[in-house]
Structures are given as C-alpha cells and as structure tokens.
Amino acid sequence: MSATTVKLKIDNVEVEVPEGTTILKAARDNGIEIPTLCALEGLTNYGGCRLCLVEVKGAPKLFPACTTPVSAGMEVITNSEQLREYRKMTIQLLLSERTHVCSVCVANDHCELQSLANKLGVDHSIFERNWTRKEIDSSHDFLVIDRNRCILCTRCIRVCDEIEGVHTLDLKQRGRKAEVIMDLDEDWANSCSCTSCRKCAKVCPVGAIYVEGEPITRTKNKDVAEFILTRRKRK
C-alpha cells in the first residue's frame, strides 16, 4: 500500500488516490465510469481497445486511462463531446472489422460490445464491414473459439498467462489480421498446455470464446469470481 497520495481532478471533481494508481482506477474508485473493453481488474492492463481514452488538460494528445498513472494536479476529462464521438467511432471500427451478428450470437444480451454500443448510441456503422469468414475451432471438448467475433482485447491471453499460469493462448500476426491462437497455432484439441479451465471463456467480453451448450450467463457468472476473491483475501 503506497503511503503517498496524489490529488487530482476528474471531471472537475477533486479526488485523492494513492500514487501510481491509473486514471481508470482512480475514476472508478470515485464513482466515475469510463468505458473499456480490454481492461479487467486483476489482469495487467495493456491499453488495446482505446475506448478509455481521456483528455488531460494542457496535453495535446489523448491518454488511455487504463495505463496512464495519475499525477498531482492533473485535470482529467472523461466524457467530452469529442471523446464520445471517438468512442462511437471505435465501436464502429470494432463492429466493422469482423463478423458480428448479434441475433445468432451466444453472447446476445450479455455482450459487453453490444451493451456499450447501445449505451453510446451506436445504431449504425459508417465503415464498410469486412464480414470475415475465419474458420471456427470447435475441436475442443467444450470450448469453442469463433475468431470472427473476436475484438482482440487479449483478456483471454492475459487470464491464461497471469491467472491460470499456462499461457496457452497468444496472438499471431499483426493489426487486423491478428488472431488468438493456442500453443503454436494448433487446433484447440491438440493443445498440450491447455488445462480446459474455461477462464478464457469467462473473461471474453463478446461471444468469441464460449462453452458449448452452456448458457452464457452461467459461463460469465461473476458471483463465482467474487467468491474466489473473498476466499483468497481470507487466507
């Protein structure tokens, strides 16, 4: 626990947080919500989705709130007209990059991308859609990956590496060609490191990784995670 704290303003509200805290955490701890799709408490942030970009007074560029630490006297704006427009555009880019069809998706009504799009008022996309046709890997007994729905948030990769500790999942290629792979790009069934722990499915914000036949509400049941956290703190 850091002894020193810093004072800053977020959306004109004066807040005091421990030194080294990220803008995202500082905001959340003070009841200010910043949208994000890749950040997940408990995992290392990597600033991939660019939805949490915020303005800092006096700085000419935008900063990702999840990876930028606070500093004393900082004045952060989390919700300006310009930021709202950028966020809407980011969602549209995500939607246009691959094949997102909510009506037949396992995550329908329980999808972070979908609910964020609704929340930000994205009712259409100004970008032409790619309609990718990437092959689905359903070789695993119960875990399925549909890379057409993947938004490359890498939560699955980080949870596999940092929490489960096996690092079965990783990325290949770059940019929009990037794909989540198992081991050295094997079919999931052939991965010798995968422990079938399902954590990747639990943290997937969309319907890209899921447990076949299991209701998405059960896969993503947060109560279990809460329970584990409480148990860990009691040790």
Binding site: D137, E212, P215
Partner: protein
C-alpha cells in the same frame, strides 16, 4: 422480359400484396390478347444455405429461423430435429410434447394471420372491393367483431409460443439439439389452458361463418387453382393428421395412396428439385413422375387430403364434411386451402388441450445431452404452409459443410404457376383490364398462403403496379394503386 418469340404482350403484377414476402406475377398474352400463361416469380434471394456453411450445427436453429418472422417455429423445429439427428439422440418425451405445443401455437397464429389479416378482406369485402379498403383496416372498419376475433386468435397462438419458449418470435434460446432448455411452468400451462375455450369458440364460429358463405364463391372454387395434382405431407403411423413427426404419404388426385410411410430421411429419393431462370424459388417435384409432371401440393389442403382422420373429435367431424367436397375425399380447388386452414385451427386447439392434459408436460426433464455423432441430419416438420425439410452435413467438429432446405412454400411452386395461369385465363381480359381481375390472380396466391420471406409487414399497403407491355417493349397501359 423477353420470355419467348411468340409472346407479344405481358402484364406484370408487381409486387403481389398481402402475402409473406416479395413476388410478382407476369401474365403473358397471345397475339389476340387472350392469356397464354402466367408465372409466379419469387424475388427474394436469401442465401441461407450458403452463408450457414462453416457455422457450428447448434447455431442452425437460430440462423434458419431468421428466414421467416411468420413461421420461425417451424424452422426451429425442423432445424432442431436435424440437429437431434446429428447428435444422434432422442429428446425426452416432455421436450417433444413441448415442441409440439409450441408448434400448435405457431400453426394457430400463422393460420389466423393468413385467414383474417390477409385473405378475409377478399373473402368478406369482395374480390372487386376498392383496394384502398380491401385490407385488414377495411375489415376492422366494416366487420369489427370478426377482425378483433382474428387478432385475438393470432395473439393466443403467439402467446403459446412465448409461454413455452420465452419469446414470441425467434425463440431460438429455448430449443436445442436434444430437446429444450427449460421446462414449462405450471403457471404458464394454466394460462394457456384458461384461454383455450375462447379461442376454440372463435375457431368454431369462424368455420361456421366460412361454410355459410361458401356458396357465394362457387365461381372461385371452380376456377381457383382447381386441377388434379398429387398431395404430400406427414401422417401418423395410422395415417392421421400430423405436424411434428410421422412419415411422408403421397396421395394422387383420385385419392389413391401412391406412397405411404416414406422415410423423410430419404426425401432425396423421391423429391427432386428443378430450377428455372426466372425465379429464385426452386421447383420440387415427385421424382417418379419427373419434371414438371411430378407436380404436387403441400400445406393444409394437402394434409387434409392425405389424412384419413384428424384424431380430435371436433376436427374429425369437420373433416368428414370437408372430404365430401371432393372425389374419394380429395379436394382439388386451391380455394379450399382456406377451409382446410380453419379445420386445422380447430385441430390445433383440440390438440393443445390434449397436450396439456398429459402429466408429462410439466416434467423437468427436457433435454438429452450429446455431441456430434453423425455426419448428417435431416429434420422434417409440417409448417403451416406444408412440409419443411432441413438437411445438414457437418464435419468432425460439428461445423456445417452443406445445407439443403426445402421450404414448404417451394413444394407448391409448380402448383402456383398452374393456379395463376388458370385464374388469369378465367378472369383477366387484357382489353378491358380491371383491378378486380388482377386481384383474383393475387387472391389465388393468397389462398396458398405462401411464405416468401419474413415479411410480416405485408398488409395490403404495398403498391400494385401493373404494366401492359407490347412486343416492342413499350408500355401500352399501366395501372398503379
């Protein structure tokens, strides 16, 4: 259009209104302006069979049910049955009862929509009534009690689907390969039970009313697609009316059973599919007779023609009367699809009562679990409009590699063309073209109740555009509403 060298004029009805989907009719004239033939063109191109490739098999009920907003349940069922076959399990009895219950709801809402919303304006306001009022709104104005009853009956059908499967349309969450996701609650069963008497009353009254006004449609009965054909559909092992399971029976125009208890899984052995360049809808035919001689009809009329009994008391009584209209119990006039639909409504409501009386309906055991075990699966169900076939092939991981769907409406494609030609020849006089003449051409299509896509919005609001085009391609005359 350039349909043929000796064709010199053509009348186009585009779009055809008060049907589900988008279609047009072209009427081809001889040099002396008499009708040579008429064609029914389906203009939707959907591509479901293609874009489903690569998807996991268990997504198919959700994907294919999106092909229609009127009969999504039929697709859900045919698709789920195909998936049952892929995983190779038999769903628990309760799941089958619930699927049947949901299907009955679907048949009720679809038949009510067809009769009250789409066809009743023609039947009760008159074929020649002004097109501005010849629609559901005109019906509400002129026959409010009847229109309200129609809306109520359709609502009841939709409610059954909702009570069983959670949603009125596209309830793909509930149905899964091997059964269903959740059981029926007692509260929902009670709700359906409590609303049954009113629905049954409406169905009986409507049927009585329809029978009483049949005499005023003698000319239509005679000329609305009144021709011999084969009839195809599912029947129970004893030859009774069936909508969910059963085997295929084919009956000829004389009432002779041509084939019985055919395995639906072997449909490719007896059903062929032909293609014509002028329509997006395929032309299925009965293989032993070849194309286009192998014309057969499906749907309510066909089901009553092939079934020896319904299996419920009120419907059985009505079936006896119905069968008297034809030779050896086979009714040929397409106009009587309406009649058959109303008898089926009665049957569905009685069946719901029976299903709810079965104690197993409330059992909590509703799904059998399994994964991909077979490389293909075929699912067949009787949709409101006829026999619906889903056929999928999957790879070892359960990813779809090939799909064939024969939609109920498509079976009737050959019959549509024969029927529109007959009606056009009887009613259309090209020299004094009148709207009512063309409406009869549309009305015969409505009698079949084709479901060309998911156009739930078709309520007679779309414009009818008719053009008379001479051999040089010039528009001689046109009418628009």
């Amino acid at each position: 259009m350039g349909e043929g060298k000796n064709m010199n004029k053509e009348i186009e009805i585009h779009p055809v209104t008060r049907i589900e989907g988008h279609a047009k009719v072209t009427i081809h004239l001889n040099k002396d302006d008499t009708v040579k033939e008429a064609r029914f063109h389906v203009l939707d191109f959907r591509g479901f069979e293609k874009f489903s490739e690569g998807r996991p098999y268990y997504e198919m009920p959700g994907i294919t049910s999106r092909s229609c907003g009127i009969c999504p349940v039929s697709h859900l069922l045919a698709s789920a049955k195909a998936c049952d076959a892929i995983v190779g399990v038999k769903p628990p009895r309760t799941a089958i009862l619930l699927r049947r219950l949901m299907h009955m709801g679907q048949l009720i809402q679809s038949h009510a929509l067809s009769f009250f919303h789409l066809s009743a304006p023609d039947l009760l306001l008159g074929m020649d009534a002004a097109p501005e009022t010849r629609n559901i709104f005109g019906l509400i104005e002129q026959k409010p009690e009847l229109a309200i009853q129609g809306v109520k009956l359709r609502k009841f059908g939709q409610e059954i689907i909702e009570k069983v499967a959670g949603k009125r349309i596209h309830s793909y969450d509930w149905i899964i390969p091997g059964g269903a996701k959740w059981p029926l609650s007692k509260q929902n069963a009670d709700y359906i039970r409590s609303h049954l008497p009113e629905a049954l009353d409406i169905a009986q009254k409507t049927l009585k009313m329809f029978k009483s006004c049949l005499s005023s449609f003698e000319d239509e009965v005679e000329n609305f697609g009144n021709f011999p054909s084969y009839y195809l559909g599912l029947v129970t092992p004893k030859g009774g009316l069936e909508h969910y399971d059963g085997k295929i029976r084919i009956v000829d125009a004389e009432g002779k059973i041509v084939a019985d208890q055919l395995d639906p899984d072997a449909y490719q052995e007896y059903i062929g599919e032909a293609v014509e360049p002028w329509s997006y809808m395929k032309f299925p035919y009965y293989k032993p007779l070849g194309y286009p001689e192998g014309i057969y009809r499906v749907g309510p009329l066909a089901r009553l023609n092939i079934a020896s009994h319904c299996g419920t008391p009120l419907a059985d009584e009505e079936l006896k009367d119905f069968k008297k209209l034809g030779k050896n119990g086979v009714v040929q006039s397409t106009f009587h699809y309406h009649y058959a639909r109303l008898i089926e409504l009665l049957f569905c409501l009685e069946t719901i009562k029976e299903l709810l009386e079965d104690p197993a309906i409330l059992s909590e055991r509703v799904s059998s679990k399994a994964s991909v075990n077979n490389e293909q699966g075929i699912g067949v169900a009787e949709a409101p409009r006829g026999t619906l076939i889903h056929h999928y092939k999957v790879d070892a991981q359960g990813r779809i590699v090939w799909v064939n769907m024969i939609i109920a409406t498509a079976h009737n494609n050959l019959a549509f063309n024969k029927a529109v030609t007959q009606v056009a020849k009887r009613y259309v006089k090209a020299k004094q073209l009148q709207e009512g003449m063309l409406n009869r051409v549309e009305a015969v299509i409505r009698a079949f109740d084709p479901c060309l896509s998911c156009a739930t919005h078709a309520v007679g609001q779309m414009p009818l555009h008719v053009q008379l085009i001479d051999s040089e391609g010039r528009i001689v005359d046109q009418k628009a509403r």
